[in-house]
Amino acid sequence: MDKGIVLFAHNNRQIDYAKMSILTAKLANKNLKVPVSLITDPSTVSWMKESKTFSIAAEVFHKIIITERPEDNNMRNFGDGKSYSAAPFSNGNRFNVWDLTPYKRTLLIDTDFLILSDNLNKYWDVDSDLLISPRYNDIIGEDRTGYLDTHISETGLEMYWATTVMFTKNEYTKTFFDLVDHVKQKYKMFSDVYRFNPIIYRNDIAFSIAKHIMNGYQQIDEYDLPDVFSVTDKDVLYEVENNTLKFLINYKDSNIAASVKDKDVHVMNKFSIIRNYDKLMELAE
């Protein structure tokens, strides 16, 4: 296949990424009209079969590719408005996408990135082997954007966001993804060199460093994907109605209402995606 989208889903005790991936795939398929494949692991597939989502997934996905679950010891807090819960976070195998993708040109997206427009379609033919989103774009704006949302550390590089990545399968991108793997393997060493906090492995940081190295240790003008328009996990997706996503945005300890329609949005509060799952699925029909 020439082009398509790839999603990764490795469930943990708190979040059913596989269920989210079905929604994300349906939205992407509806708005971009390209096939979507899923990369997952045997235990997630078992859960999909048990929870009866596997048959739906088999219809929605072009291919379901089963690989080993990454052995990450990443624990992180998953926010749901004002509350948090800790859970393991298995996302350390993104570099495998180069080997596993069935497409020549791949758009890799996170399962919490909801494609509600055809905006990303204009990037398939851009003359660049690797496109990554270079900026975080908070729904509120710069007021709520911290330095560590835009840089890998207080003294480090500008951060790329691995939420959306598009690449052509060739030698150049093979080297890039091998480099991402290398950064992951030597994460502590790179944290000393690039002065970032290594406690949690972040794909965004590994991708940013790999890009920096591939660009000859400098920042250059190049094509990028659009900013990652985001709603944080302190915010809540409150309601989905008339093709509109209504949010409660946490700002300076109070709540502001906002809505999003026909615009791709990174909804970091995964619990609120699951709570509104049925309505969101209707949006994807």
């Binding site: 905006n119 409150y238 309601e239 008339n242 209504k246």
Partner: protein, 116 residues
């Protein structure tokens, strides 16, 4: 949660919701004014529209090289077709912008703003 949402709909939050809705709308229109062509990316703005129109006026309408957003040279084989495309996109995006912006301006409550 319902109580918090009700509170957020209070008119005292109107300006903040208005600002978010306006920002989101502006970004949506900016995306529509971004045009991928022949491997390059163009921002459809007044400068590009005028430049293309001027080239056609000067009888330079075939095999023209135009610099894109990254200053990369992009070959446009048929500039008249290119002009039609960017003018169509410009008018449809700006018309939508105007229409949606009027709706935002006329929405006199947070609840109405959310429906735009």
């Amino acid at each position: 949660m319902q109580e918090e949402f009700k509170k957020a709909l209070d008119f005292s939050n109107y300006r903040q919701t208005f600002a978010i809705q306006r920002k989101t709308l502006k970004e949506k229109i900016d995306a529509k004014l971004t045009y991928g062509y022949n491997g390059g990316i163009f921002k459809i703005d007044r400068e590009l529209l005028n430049f293309v129109e001027m080239l056609i006026y000067k009888d330079r309408s075939e095999n023209v090289v135009i610099l894109d957003v990254n200053e990369n040279p992009i070959l446009v084989e048929n500039l008249v077709d290119f002009r039609e495309e960017i003018f169509d996109r410009y008018f449809s995006a700006t018309f939508e912008y105007h229409e949606e912006y009027q709706k935002i301006k006329k929405a006199r409550s947070v609840e109405k703003l959310l429906e735009v």
